[in-house]
Amino acid sequence: MRKTWTGGLVAALATLGLGCGQAATLATPSYTFNKPTVIAGAKLFADHCSACHAVSSLRYNRLAADLGMTKAEIKKDIMLPGGANYLQGMQPTMSQADAKKWFGLPPPNLSHIVRAEGARWVYTYLTSFYWDPKRPSGWNNHIFPNVAMPDILAPWGGTYTKNGKLLQAGRESPALYHKQVAEIVAFLRYASDPSVFERRAIGRYVLGTLILLTILAYLLKKDYWRDIHNKDEAEKAKAAKKAGSAKA
């Protein structure tokens, strides 16, 4: 697994213009970064997130090509009913105006979120919600204070208080819940950099060719430079002979 950004948490929060963060350590999502994980994450994202969040840079047909899915599968599992265009980027079902009315600000486009914040931050953010009756939405977040987004995953992961007490258990076991959040993060990581599978697929061939070229160039260099070494040795032998005869 590739190391993700270790950019400071304070920096990440301040960048979003949402106050100062408190010191907290980021949890690392545990997933194997491959196509099945990303497909699972894409389905979960479509179910839970894409009502509000766009991934506008990522086109559905690109998703299909990169992950080896058919158009029918994309239409069934990823695209939401109504209005979505297979050739366009992933759009939310909710209009930005409605979103602004309900949450106070439009939910961000998540195209580059993992590149910008790091997979660990996104994962920790998604698993750090707690119940806070003082907030209009009823939700708050340990690493993103006064967040506008409610914890839409609470029915699956459970509701907790600020000090970690379980208020209401979720439908899923904590292990399964954390696996699924990690899969969503894996999908977002892919969405931030969709060339990743293509790069990995051609990587060994590109490097193999270049290493072959380097080996050939090395042999060629060695062959030519034998001229120089031979000349040096001849010169040294001559000098030694001269020194020898001088002594004699």
Binding site: T15, S57, A116, D193, L207, T214
Partner: protein, 402 residues
């Protein structure tokens, strides 16, 4: 030779140029690994030209569409990731090579007489490259681009008298926007690049006039064989062309591995804040420059006064021009100058420490490192004339060590 060859050479000095710059350009035979950097830099510049041309074919220089057009290259253009990562990672690799290339010059005294002009042209290329990198840095118009543009153009503001006018001229308006992107693109892709290309030609011509230095700092032209060629020299072609080809193979393998497996180099080659759209209303938590400019930025921050800080930064950039005259020792290479060698080592460590600290958030706990680093950097140049006139030296051999 062939009939076409004769026809061509009556009209164009191809054979003559080949002889002068390749087959009868005698280079010292004791080049070490640092001597790959020159040809690799040339290769990288050509690759930047090719990838830059392809990027420009898709780029839209407006404040509204610049970010989207660059992201479009990453998501919608066939092989777009390849050309962008080539261009972005290429910059960091060029600066790695530049620092090795210049460090080599320091180590072996390659700036010394008769190579003063060679050093100065090279150093101008380095300064031009910093500008070229800065212009390119603004173009993707992420939030880092925007704020870097604001900060750097406001540094110009501190220039006495003409500063404010220059800042407006650089931005093309009250702030960094479409006009800035348009003129920065024109500078980046046309004027600045052409000046750099011309300077590279001058650099190579100057080199071939005086001949290459070598790790021993010995003038190979002093000892010539019966054929009139330097005893320690070998023809550049074929010996160094095949050797450089091997260097190119190794280098391209490293370059490809970075592009394929770590294109952002964990945020060092491509910073995470470039993935936010430019936003004049949301500042960055801390504006840090790319690593290759960070040493100067650290020195800027070391002084708690805007004008003196900028003055110190400019002093740091200007001082290396005087190096050929600051060094007064008859011996060139640090191989035979133990004290100078330690100075170079300290200087190198200081430079990269400054680069590291320049990347850190501007917190008071780093002030000491910044000030110490700046003092050592500046001190090197002021102490060099004194130390170089009194330092002990080892005996320099007649011939280069193979």
């Amino acid at each position: 030779m062939s009939k076409f060859g004769d026809w061509l050479n009556e009209r164009f000095p191809a054979r003559e140029m080949m002889r002068e710059h390749m087959t009868e350009y005698y280079a010292p035979k004791n080049f070490n690994i640092l001597y790959y950097t020159g040809s690799l830099l040339l290769l990288m510049i050509v690759l930047q030209l090719v990838s830059g041309f392809l990027l420009m074919a898709h780029y839209v220089p407006t404040s509204k569409d610049a970010f989207n057009s660059v992201q479009g290259i990453m998501y919608d253009t066939k092989w777009g990731w390849l050309i962008r990562y080539m261009h972005v990672d290429g910059v960091s690799l060029i600066f790695i090579l530049l620092y090795l290339h210049m460090g080599r010059g320091l180590l072996y005294g390659s700036y010394r007489k008769p190579r003063e002009l060679l050093w100065i042209i090279g150093y101008v290329i380095y300064i031009m490259m910093m500008g070229e990198a800065f212009f390119g840095y603004i173009l993707p118009f992420g939030n880092l681009s925007y704020w870097a543009g604001q900060v750097i153009t406001s540094i110009i503001h501190a220039v006495p008298l003409i500063g404010p006018g220059l800042t407006t001229l650089a931005r093309g308006g009250p702030g960094v926007g479409t006009a800035t992107l348009e003129r920065f693109l024109a500078l980046h892709a046309v004027l600045w690049f052409m000046i750099i290309a011309a300077l590279i030609v001058l650099h190579i011509l100057a080199l071939h006039q005086v001949g290459s230095n070598n790790p021993d700092g010995i003038e190979i032209k002093k000892l010539k064989g019966p054929d009139g060629h330097p005893l320690d020299g070998i023809p550049f072609h074929p010996y160094y062309t095949v050797k450089d080809l091997f260097g190119v193979g190794v280098w391209l393998t490293i370059f490809a591995a970075i592009i394929l497996y770590a294109p952002t180099m964990h945020g060092v080659f491509l910073e995470r804040t470039t993935f936010f759209r430019a936003n004049p209303m949301v500042g960055l938590p801390d504006v840090t420059p790319p690593w290759y400019l960070a040493p100067y930025y650290a020195m800027l921050r070391a002084v708690p006064n805007k004008y003196y800080g900028i003055a110190l930064m400019f002093l740091a950039i200007v001082l290396p021009f005087f190096l050929p005259w600051l060094d007064r020792n008859p011996v060139r290479s640090s191989r035979y100058r133990p004290v100078y060698r330690i100075m170079i080592l300290v200087m190198g460590i200081t430079f990269f420490t400054l680069a590291w600290v320049g990347e850190q958030p501007p917190l008071p706990k780093y002030f000491l490192i910044e000030r110490l680093g700046a003092a050592i950097y500046i001190g090197f140049y002021f102490l060099l004339p004194i130390i170089s006139s009194i330092e002990p030296t080892k005996k320099v051999p007649e011939r280069v060590r193979s």
